[in-house]
Symmetry: C2
Subunit: 147 residues, 2 copies
């Protein structure tokens, strides 16, 4: 199987080239097929909802013709925020694997810890810290260059 | 000024005709101009993120050419979920007015209470319970008819 986090990191790098906060995501079917891959597009699309996770969810659900993607897994380079965590829950994903933890905006292991809320009706398995150093380095460099 | 919640309720009713959970939303500029109005489209668009709030946010930010809508207000017939509450925060809206409270899935006055989280970096003013009875009646009828 391909290294899906590696592909998500490539998408994050492409996002940085486009002037976006470098976050990338890959959506993978239960058989290991890549359904969608994308980077953050909030600035380019003038869309506050166009986080990498939302972009791949929308692409993959459209392809499938269903708002649900049961059995699918998401790889993303940053801990999902509350918007993305809730969208992941609505799409009924099986597993979320993320790289960098995000104490300031994350909603899986920080803040609202959405998947543990009683109002979360489907909680995927979640695994954080995969390729954490590389994802953190990319984010750090991006924000340093911005200053 | 028009009754914006009335327009949101009309959008919710149209959503029900299309077989969607009846939720409607209207996005209004600081001068009272309607920037976008829409109902829930999750089933029709096969998009788990196509809640009424997200649909109007995406339409209005695209029109404005900016992912931020500072000074704008959102009227919606149901308490926003965590996905929508976070998107509202990212778009920097000034105020959210909603009709029915949603103890099972709401994230403003229930569950994660997103706007009160330390990881929420912009919290709009929020007002719930406006035209609550009509919005509740519409939702109740929709789910009863589904059975």
């Amino acid at each position: 199987m391909p290294n899906f986090m590696e592909i998500a990191l490539q998408e994050a790098e492409h996002a940085a080239y486009r002037g976006e906060v470098p976050v990338g995501a890959v959506l993978v079917s239960s058989t290991g097929k890549i359904l969608a891959r994308a980077g953050n597009r909030t600035e380019e699309d003038s869309d506050p909802t166009a986080h990498a996770e939302i972009v791949v969810l929308r692409q993959a659900t459209k392809k499938r013709g269903s708002p649900r993607l049961s059995g699918c897994d998401l790889y993303v380079t940053l801990e999902p925020c509350a918007m993305c965590a809730a969208a992941i829950s609505f799409a009924r994903l099986r597993r979320v694997v993320f790289a960098a933890y995000d104490p300031k905006g994350g909603a899986v292991d920080h803040g609202p810890r959405f998947f543990s809320q009683p109002t979360c009706h489907h909680a995927p398995e979640s695994v954080g810290g995969v390729e954490e150093k590389r994802a953190c380095a990319m984010l750090k460099k991006f924000f340093e260059d911005k200053r």
